[in-house]
Structure formats: structure tokens, C-alpha cells
Symmetry: D2
Subunit: 433 residues, 4 copies
């Protein structure tokens, strides 16, 4: 591929999109990137992992989300054009970074990464800089272009303005996923007035800021985000599926390490079990591959692997109780004992899962997912951090909310064997708290 | 499973649904059926097959559609309750038939059935009557209930009213899929006023009829159907993916018959290649299984299988020209010769695909998909077939529209080898018609 | 007002609009025109006249519609910019013509014009060219500008392209009102994909044409139009209110001519009764003025005027039967006799109203509302009239549909007096047809 | 009218409604009430008073809102039927109270009531209990029924459950107007999931409560309310129109008291000027009457009345600056002096307007608009006040937010006369605060 992807297409291409109505592509570069096999692979990775077990509409993919982030960025640039601080030569950098920001995501990333100590951001970098179709297309623009894109996505770029378009408390990424996830699921929470927010966005040297007059639209966006987290992303049923998924990966890795002979050996996963996956290995993975193994493993000899896969495929999920991890450690130890006595391995069948969210945070130095806070620009040109202007945002800022749930197989608990232990288990699980 | 599923749940269950807002389940029977593994399997079969290559939102599954048809039927029954001709004891029969009407669908049904002479309606019957969780649940209601359900779905039931609720020119099935497909894709064509149509539906001995005052809402529905067919279901890019998919199945079957040694043998498909699949074989299939093989086969030795799978997975589709099959037979024979000379097997790389639709038909005896026509009931109680009352419907009734497209690999045609043949191929393909 | 309105505003102004989300104003000229008292007056004239008696949401005004037509034209121009045949210097001409195309509408135009032989198009011309704030603003742009605008609106301009943007079978006017009326009323019929239509519109020397690929979106628009006419614009209850309204105007004029002494003399209407209204007279009218008189006249001495006003204000409308004017002339004469005998003046209480619509017409030379037909432009650049390409449009083209209804006061008919005549009236009205 | 309005209509009537899709009427009683002239009068009173000058879509009337509140109540009852504490004989009481809760509203109530010390709640009572068509219809149901309805609307009824359906922090009234106002204006703020809220509402002896599982939907509703207040109801431009409107009423009353001779005497308002309006006087009023006078008064001799009417009719509104009434009293006194010196009466041309809102309040004993707080019912049946369960609501509870604006005529301030005073006025108005 020695072709160059500079310049514009003869005719604009459009994708029909339910969230943004149309996604418009004028640049050869963007069109070529969408056509690469690494980007097409995102069609086989769901945006919301296991949420589809709770919300049957949540089958949309990272492919659609990536196009959406690109489109929002494109519209943001239309607003920026001709304004101070906006440099038209950053246009392609912003568009490409938006399009590729999730290109390193793999199947069921959340659980997969936890078990295999994998990191989709590292894979994104690898895909952009490695021996891929994506890299070939990017390099046709200039020798350093791929590296510039990687730095924006990694938030190490000196171009802070473009970085903040993709990664901040109010960026193209979040504005797309909140609306898109709400749309496909059918909840009303994801509504906010993006058209208004885009109109009041202004470029500065360091970041995108919001005109004071748009404050209420931003408040609405923050509330939307808050509701989506607690109503959708942290839904307890989704987390149950996620728990089982993690335990399947964990069990398969354990069995592999133990030298277990799989009837259906997961050749795609060997290098992950060993902690030495190559980019080629990673790119072969997608959710149909993972689901293929899970289905086949319903007939494995190992009882745990077999049972967990059967649960995942046929949606026989765990139930849960709320717990307080601080004052229930004794119960927890006793429950593990009882599970073991009753013949069920608590490492796989008694699982604590915690979620937490900061609805908006203006200052969290050193935290893992540190995003630039939102600044309003007053009519006199001065900047003010959002929570100092908005009563609503101030009232919820920095309030971290966490919940802890203990997952267990209720069907097993209802069955007849090991009555004594189960009686005590039930007492411990269902006590007043 | 000796449990009985008669009666109502302690508390109504709801599913969030973007099309109908909520799907409501009161009956233990319905809840149990949704939980069976045969029904959960529909989560792994897309509603629109390969349409997602054209419309990236079209990832919704037959699971969601089946719930939708159930919900519409439930609302229809709310309107019917207490009216003449409606027998409340048919309620469960109607709801279950609605829920299960597509339970026999497999992965990429359209192409799969064509190549393997499989029939999802026969599989539906097999799932309902065979040794399945679905059958166990149904039998708990009564010994003949499963058979009654199967007959409604097969349109052989003596209960014509319930049959017409599920299968007619304006039934719960069509009303769900038109709206649902339009929603997930994001096109405006699927809009019609279902709430109005439901309100004007009336049961009669033989079928559901529509009050005269609802005629315009029905016209709108018919136009919606017409547009969805030509804009979405018969979209030429979707058909290109479908052509390649069929050719993959055809090639794999051919290779199997020839004794070819697959690096990744498709054990799930052997009994289909041999024409003797069991129900167990069929139920193991889903779209992740199929996509797993397609991905693996990108590394097969057979050049055709490998290339077609690569095309399907990475969306390197065929292009097309419109043809007139009546007067272009000579061209067609010559094109096949030229393809062969240039080294490409025309059986796989030069494919005619035809689509046709009747927007509304009042009388098509003996045709394959014969559905009951729509009747209006006048204020005086007399019935009139829709096209006799509606100028709009009359003007498009019985007008079959067909188009024919010839699909070919344009990338190959653009490459340098075999210049002479390709020159002539281009002349034949792109001549004025 | 010697100010000039050339150039752009310091900051863009926006109006929140439910149909187009935002209406954007950059030009000083447009902003100044919106602020004129002649344009503000459109806030006091409903877009749909008496439709609010049928559809309670239909309270929106010609002010909102005018802004909507302006906004669509503005978006059309965005698509046209830089394309052949589009002359950027026509931008203001098109925007202003769009904004002002209905500025001459008065209260309840339909009935008002019929009774007083008034013509809103003549008034539009008078407002644009006369001694008005509108004219002052227009003249600040150039001495001939007002005249150019008037000619576009009157369809006498040599600039056929701009004319067709405002007045053709698919223009900014119709695209706004179909969507807007549907939105405020809450019907689903008004949906079509305007964004798509705008994207496929192309300027030519003579008119706006549509790219072939947009044909289906245009079909959808034509169907939408068809449904809106028959479901909304010609709704029989609306026509009943319109009948009564006309009869009030007719009676007031008659009384005036007779020398009747009004308790509340309609000073605003005197010059209209005499057929010599000035522009000043006309601009003082709006719907609150008309409704003021109607309310006051509920206490007039004249029984007919009093009764009709009471009916209009309190929504005690006439009922109707369908008639066939060709073969019921004898009945008609007899009914008039009977009404007279029973003491009710048939000129006011027995009224035939007819509606007719051509859903799409490609060739209607010499007809009153002759609009340019829709042309598609093929990939090879050739133009084809829409109905030659679209089966759907062809099937309904040129089919004029007319209905005739006879309106009468059913409450009077149900009351006890004059039993003999009423018996015969009922027989004639409700006979089988 | 000796007819009885007990029982059901032969056929259900429906109103098309954009917010609730359809409004369903089965009861003769409801149908008869809608047909009364007092209820039809609500068609001539806008729901949002002067908001239409800011949001051009806000032309919807109290008629549509009243139907909407009725419809929500009807749906609430569908959820309540068969549940403990719900007494089916309260059905008509609830429906009628919902329908009639605003029947006493007059033209531009907010300003009208302030100037004339009128009270729409007293008029509602008068309409229900007085000599009206409404009262006749109600009395046909039973001699005490009208009184029961009046007490529910006045919140003095012993039936606290029905009262809370119409008047509480989350009642049919608010749920309708938030959605309806948002719809007609076209803002996104009004979205919340009413269908969900209705499903989780439960009757108790004292009030409607919400199932714990519906808490997030209620949070969303409270945020929606918060945004609508600050974005729409307290919009500074609307308040400018309201200021002018009040001043017109104030001036007309003043002139009347002074014995001024009106060219167009406002006979409809005399009894209001004198503080002794009868019900008949009140029912003759509506917004077309008021607008008629305002238009006529543009030609009065009194300069102030004439100017204010001209401003209102042609939307030449006042501008504003934010003020702090606590520390600007000296400025305020000086500004009044300067206005007087420059020839403009500060009583009419320098007006402070304040708005304040409590987004949600759980305890406000003795306050004017004391509504029942929201209670959640936990799975164990215990009630908890919302703000004790919801972090979000807790964080904004009881936080009263007030703003103060000073309105003045900026066009006058920009004109040339009285340069000295105006210079000082500008300095005082536009100083840094």
C-alpha cells in the first residue's frame, strides 16, 4: 500500500446513524482508516460488553461508537473554524484521534483486561504504531503522523487542545456514548442538548471551554452522565454477567497452567495465559471467538468451567446481596468456609463486586482516570471552573459513591443437598443490614 | 422440570425496549419460555442478517424482535378483551405463538437455508414439539398445547383469528420488525401510527379486521413497508454481503464433498453438508459459531474459501451492475468465459441476485408467502378489502417490482493481470443499458 | 430609519425551534425584518386557521412557520454554496423571500379572503413595496431590492432558481409546514427525511432538482403531503368551523350593507365590507381583533349573527353528511325549502363544502396553483420528471380526489319544533347513497 | 339542562395529543364538561402567558394542559385499580378535579392577578359552584359533587389521596406541564420517564407514594423541573414582557381612577379597576379581549399607556441588568431621580423583578405553595422521604435560589436627549458588581 490518502474524496460518503442522523466523511484518510481490517474488527466488539443481558437493545458495537466520536469531533471543528486558538492544520489530527481512540479494545475488555493484565490503551498504541493497515494509512500522511495520533490518545501530546476534544470531562467520547447507549437501550436518561453544547464550545490554548450561557446544557449533560452510570453501566444484573465472565477466564487460565487437557483447546488464548501475547494474537480476538469457546466449553470435563460457561451462554446468572465490606469480614470468611463444605469453590461462586463513580470532579490529581475539568468562559473572557458557577454541579462534586455487592448462585442455594450449610449461608446472606 | 407454569407471576416483569418502551410479562408461562436455552439462543442471531455491513446500527437480534411481537400481541389482546369473537382462553395461545414464531431461525438464515435446503419453519416446529426446554414448559400447560402453538405458527390451525394476529398482511410480526429495524438503523421510513392501528383492530371469526376510520393509518403502514423493503431489506450492499456469505457456505460444502482437508474442520456443519442435521446439531449453531469458522478460514489453503472469508470478515465486498436477465444471456455466457480465462471461477465471482416485492397484495392464491389480505369494517358492519377503499393502496396493489443485479469483485477487475480479458469484461459490464 | 442593514451581526442570534431545533440568524437584514411590526403581527395569525378546534395543539402561528421556511432556505443555501448555477449574491434574495413569503396573511385567511375577495398575495406585495417598516429595511439594501423580493414571491421573477426554492412541488415552504403542522398536532404523518432531501438538492439554471439517489426520500415526502391533506388540512370538523366562520363574515357584511345598527360596530371591517380597504386597515387586523368581535356579537340583536358567533366561540359546530353534488340537486332544492319552512335560513345553515387535492402533479398548465414539478438528475446529468422514475408517484399522479360535504346544525334538527319538516329533512340527509 | 351525565359514552372519544399521543374519554361526565363554555374558554388562554415572546412555539393553551392533566390522572388510576387504599368510587372525583383544576385561570394570569388582586383559585371555586354550565353538569352527578371537586382543587378535602394526585411535589399537574411546555418550546429539558413513574406510583391512605425502585426516574423528574424553571419559566426576556404587561394594567387602572377619557374604553375591565368583578365579568375575559385593547391603546393620548402597548404588541421589550437589592438601594434611589429628570416615569420604566425557586423541598410548613413532599416506599413497606434516600435530591433540597433583575428601556437610553442624565444612568446600571 504505497497509495497516499491526502486530500478529499470525489464525493462525500455518508453513514446512516440513528444518533447523529448522518456521519459525513470527506477525507480520503478517514475513509481509508474505516476500511482497514483493524477498524472493521471493532464491528465484532460490543460497546457495552455484557450489558445486553440486562438491556436487550445493547448490541451496538465499538465500530458505531468510534464513528460517532469522529462525527462529533467533526462538528466541533466546524464551530472552531476561524476562531482564535484553532489551528486548521490540527483538523486531521483531531479527526483521526477521535476515530481511533478505542481501536485497541478487545472482546469484553473489562473482564478480559482484569484477568489477563491486558490494557486496551497499550494495544491502541501498538495498532497505531505497529505493522498494521492502520499504520500504513497514517504513515502515508507523514512519517510522524501516527506518533502524533498515539500521543493525543494517550494524553501525552503537547497539543492539549486537541487532547481535550477527545478526553476531558465533556469530550466527544462521552457525548457520543451517553447518547448512543441510551438510544440503543431505550432509556430516557441519555438526553442532553449536544447541539447547544457544541455551539457554546470555544477553543483555548489548553483546552475546550464552554461559554457561560451554555452552563445549563452542561448541567443537564452531567446529570445525564450520573444517571447513566447508576442506571445502566453499574446495573447489578450486568455486573453478575461480568462476574461470571471473569471467572470463566480465570478458570480457563488456571486449568491451562495446571496442564488440563481441553477438549476444545483455546489456541487464541494461549499467549494470553502465558502473558506474552503478540499484536497478531490480539487482533485475532473478537467476541465471536470468545463466545465460540464458551459454547464449546459447555461440554468440557471440568465441572467449574462447564458450569460457568453454561450459565453465561444461557443467562443463568448469579443473584446478589448488598454488603458492607468494612464490618462484614467475619461473615465473609465464614461464608467461604460454608461454600467449601457444601462443595462449591468460593473463589468462583462467592464474588464481591464494587462500583463507584464520581459524577463530576474538578480536581483529582494523580488519580487513574484524570480528565481535564470543565471551564466556563465568562462574557469578560475570564475562566471559571464549572462547579464554582453551578449550584447543581457544586452540590454533587467530588462525592464518590460506591456500592458493594456479593454475588452467589441462588439456584444452587435453593437445591436440596447440604441443607445444614445452606441454612447458615442463607442466614448470613439475608440478615438485616 | 416437572414444575407447572400456569398462572401469574407474583410481580410483573418488565424489559426496557426502545421501540415499545416497556415489554410487560405477567404470565409464568411466558417468563419460563424466555428463560429457555432455545429462546436465549436467539440473542446470538441477528434480526437482519448481513444488513449491519450497510447500516452499522443493525446489530439487533431475533431475541429482541420476538419479545416485540409478543408485546404487540399482548396490546392487541387488551383491545380485543370483552369484544365479540374474542375468546379469552385463546390469550396464552396467541402470546406464546407470537413469542415463538421465529424460534427456529438460525445464523444468517437467508443464505444458510438456500445452500443447505434448511427451513426455519420446520426447525420451529421441531423445537416446539421436540425434546427441548421449550417443549417441557409448553407441555406443563396441557398435553396438546405445544401442538396448538405449532399449528398457529405453521398457519394450519383451525383458529384463524389467532393465526391472523401473527401472520397476515398487517400482523404483530410485521408491525414489530418495520418499526424495530427502522429504529436501530436510524431511518425515518418505519414510522406509522401503531397505537392508532391497534385501537381500530377488531376480532372477527376468521381474522383481525380494521375499522374504516383507521384506513389512513393502514395506508401509512403499507407505504412504510414499501419503503423499508426497497431502502433497507433489498439494499444492494447488503445483498453483496449475502452473495459472498452464500458462496462461502457453497464452497465449504463443495470442499467437504471433495474430501478437502480443512485446517479448521467445521464440525458444526458436517451434518448439514450431508443433509442430515439433527435438532441438537441445529441448536448448537449461532452467528458466533459461523463467524468463528469464517475467521479461521482466512488461513485455509483453498484460495477461494480463504478469499471469500477474508472479504466477508473485512468487508471487502463485491460491486454490482444492474442487468436485464432477459436480453443479456449472451453477454452473461461470454462474461463467464472471460472470468474463467482470467483465472477467476465465475461460479463464485460472478453472481446474479434478484429481489422482488409486492407492496400489498389482496389475492395471491397458491403463492409461497400467502398472507391474509387486509379488510376494513364499515360502520354498517360490512367488510371491504382494503384496496377497494383506498386509492393509494389500489394504485400499488399487485404491482410486483423486481430488480436484478450482477455482482463481481471490482478490486480484482482493477488489478493489472489479464488486461485483455478485463478490458472486454469492463466493456460488457459497463455498456449502456 | 436611515440605518443600513447590510452585513453581519456581531454575534449570531438563535431561536429555539421544536422542528428545526435552532433557527440561526447572521444577517443584520434578517434580524431587522423579524423586528418589524408587520412581521411581528404574524404572531397573531395562526398557521392553520381553525384547525385548532379539531386538533388542540394547532395553535402555532405564521410567525413560527415563516422563521422555519427561512431556516430551511438557509440550509439549502449551505448545500448549494460552491456548486455550479448557484450565485452567492442571490443568498439574501432567497432568505428574505423565504422569510416574507407569507407576510401578507391575515386572520383566518381562507374564509376571510373568500368573503371579502381579499388576496394575501396582493397584501404581501403591498407590505413589501408600501410605506412599511419592512419596506424601509429592504430599501436600505438597495433601491430595487424590495421589488426583486416581491417578484420572487409572486413567481414573476426572472430568477427561476430562487423562485423554485420557495415555490415548487418540493420547496422550503411545504417542507416546513408539513413537518411543523404534524409536530404541533402530534400526528405521525408529517415525517420525512428533510436532511436527506436537502443533501440531494442541486441548483440548476431553472430550478432546484434532486439527485436520483434521493428519490425514495422524495416519495416519502409526497406521501406525507398526501396524508396531511386528507387527515389534517381537509378534516371535516375543521371545515365545519371554517363554514361557520365564513357565514359570520358573510352575515356581518350583509347586515352592514342593510344598514343594521351593530351594538359593537366592527370599525376594523368597514372598509372591507365596502371593498376599499387600505394597507393600514389591513395591518390592524389579526385574530385577536376578529375574536373580540365574535365574542361581543354573541350579544347582538340579529339572531343569525348572534347564533353563529356563539357556535364559533363555544365550539357548537355543524355536523355533516357526504353528498354527491351531481345527482342530488333535487334533494338540495327541497332541503332548502324545508329549512326555510322550519324557520332557518339555508344560506347560513345548510352549506356545501368541497375539498380536493392532487397529491402530485407534473403538468397542470393554466391551473391556479401551478407549481414547478420535481425533476430528478441522473448520474449522467440528464433530468427526468419524478413520476417517470417513481412507480409510487406515477401511480398517484394527476389523480384528483374531491369530496363534498353538506353541513347543518344537528342540535337544531334534534329539537322539537317543526317536527314534520325535520322528519323529511332527516330522511333526505340520511338516505343511503 | 336536566340531562344526567352518569355512565359511559357509547363509543370512546379520543383527542390527538402530541405529548400523550391520545387522550381518551369514556365518561359522559368528562365529555360534557369539556363541552361547557367555561372549559372551552381555556382555549383562549395561553398556558405560558408571555413566554411566546421568548420561545415562539409557546402558543399552547390551558385547554390542552387541562386535558393532559386529566389523561395522566386517568393513567394513574389504571395503575391504582385493584390496589389497597384505592377506592374506585373516587375515580370520577379525581378525573374531574384534574380536568378542572385550572378552569379559573384568566388572561395572562400572573400579571393580571398581581395588579387586580384577583385569584384564579377563587375563580375556579366560583366556576365550579356558581351558575355555570360546569356546575350544571357536575350537579347532575349528585348534589354534593361540585363541592367535593372544589375542595380537592383547593386542597381542603378530607380525601388526601385524591388531592395528592393533583397537587403534590409529583402530581399529574406538574408532570403534564413540564413535558408539554418542553414539547411546544422544543427544549430537551422536559424529558423524564413518566411511564416509569406512573408504574411505580402506589396509593396510600394519605398520598401517592413511589416504589423505591423508581427513585432514579423521580430524580430525573426533579432535575427536569429545576431546569425548566431556570431555563424557561424565569427566562429574563419573558419577564421583560411580563413587566410591561403589568405596567399596562397598572397604567390603565390609574388612568381610569384619574377619570381619564379612553378613546377605547375598556368596558371589560371596569369592574376589575373598581375591585368588584362578577363571575360573568370574569368569564368574558380572555387573551383576545386583552390583546384587542392593547392594540387599540397604541393610539391613545396618554403617552405612557400608548408607549407600553406599542412595546408589548410589537415586542420592543425592556433590557435588564442583574442587581443585588441589598447593597444597591442608594443607586436605586438615584436612578429613579435621574429617570424623572430625564422625563421618564420610573414607576413604569425602571422595574425590579425577582424570581426564586426551590427545586425540591421536603418541609416548608406555612409557605404559600406548600405541596406534599415525595415519599418512597421500601420493599419492607416503610416510607422514607425522598431526600433521605437520594444523594442528588438531598444535595439540592431546600436551597432557594433567587435572582433580581432591573428592567429599563435601552432604546430610550441610547437616544440623544438628556445626555447628562443618561450618562450617569449608564454608569450606575453597568458598573461592575
Amino acid at each position: 500500500m504505497t497509495e497516499s490518502y491526502r486530500g478529499l474524496l470525489d464525493e462525500e460518503k455518508v453513514f446512516k446513524d440513528p444518533v447523529h442522523r448522518y456521519i459525513h466523511v470527506r477525507d480520503k484518510l478517514i475513509w481509508a482508516l474505516i476500511g482497514t481490517k483493524e477498524f472493521q474488527r471493532l464491528r465484532r466488539v460490543r460497546q457495552l460488553g455484557t450489558s445486553y443481558v440486562t438491556f436487550h437493545g445493547a448490541e451496538h458495537t465499538r465500530f458505531t461508537h468510534s464513528l460517532g466520536v469522529y462525527e462529533i469531533t467533526r462538528r466541533m471543528i466546524e464551530v472552531f473554524q476561524g476562531r482564535p486558538h484553532w489551528n486548521e492544520k490540527d483538523r486531521q489530527l483531531a479527526l483521526v484521534s477521535a476515530l481511533l481512540h478505542d481501536v485497541g479494545h478487545g472482546p469484553f475488555s473489562h473482564s478480559f483486561e482484569k484477568v489477563f493484565h491486558s490494557d486496551h490503551e497499550a494495544w491502541t498504541r501498538a495498532i497505531i504504531l505497529g505493522d498494521t493497515e492502520v499504520n500504513q494509512v497514517l504513515t502515508s500522511i507523514g512519517p510522524d503522523f501516527a506518533k502524533e495520533v498515539a500521543e493525543v490518545i494517550e494524553k501525552t501530546s503537547s497539543n492539549k487542545l486537541v487532547t481535550s476534544m477527545i478526553s476531558s470531562q465533556i469530550d466527544a467520547d462521552r457525548m457520543d456514548y451517553l447518547q448512543r447507549d441510551a438510544y440503543y437501550i431505550g432509556v430516557s436518561y441519555g438526553h442532553f442538548d449536544m447541539e447547544r453544547i457544541l455551539r457554546v464550545m470555544r477553543p483555548t490554548e489548553d483546552q475546550v471551554v464552554i461559554k457561560q450561557s451554555g452552563m445549563h446544557a452542561v448541567e443537564d449533560y452531567i446529570m445525564s452522565r450520573y444517571q447513566m452510570y447508576w442506571q445502566v453501566y453499574f446495573h447489578p444484573v450486568t455486573r453478575s454477567a461480568e462476574v461470571i465472565l471473569s471467572k470463566i477466564f480465570q478458570r480457563a487460565k488456571f486449568l491451562y497452567k495446571e496442564g488440563y487437557r481441553f477438549q476444545q483447546p483455546p489456541q487464541h488464548l494461549f499467549s494470553f495465559f502465558e502473558g506474552k501475547p503478540t499484536l497478531t494474537d490480539y487482533l485475532k480476538l473478537d467476541e465471536s471467538i470468545v463466545l465460540y469457546y464458551f459454547q464449546m466449553w459447555q461440554e468440557e470435563d471440568d465441572e467449574i468451567l462447564k458450569d460457568l460457561c453454561h450459565r453465561f451462554i444461557n443467562r443463568k446468572l448469579f443473584k446478589y446481596v448488598e454488603i458492607n465490606p468494612n464490618n462484614q469480614m467475619a461473615d465473609w470468611a465464614r461464608l467461604r468456609e460454608l461454600f467449601t463444605q457444601a462443595g462449591l469453590d468460593p473463589d468462583y461462586y462467592l464474588v464481591v463486586d464494587s462500583s463507584s463513580d464520581l459524577p463530576y470532579d474538578f480536581y483529582r490529581p494523580g488519580e487513574e482516570e484524570e480528565r481535564v475539568p470543565i471551564h466556563l468562559v465568562k462574557p469578560n473572557g475570564k475562566l471559571r471552573e464549572l462547579s464554582r458557577e453551578s449550584d447543581l454541579v457544586e452540590s454533587i462534586s467530588g462525592k464518590k459513591r460506591t456500592d458493594h455487592k456479593l454475588y452467589y448462585p441462588s439456584d444452587w442455594l435453593a437445591s436440596k443437598e447440604n441443607k445444614v450449610e445452606k441454612e447458615e449461608i442463607r442466614n448470613l446472606l439475608f440478615q438485616e443490614r
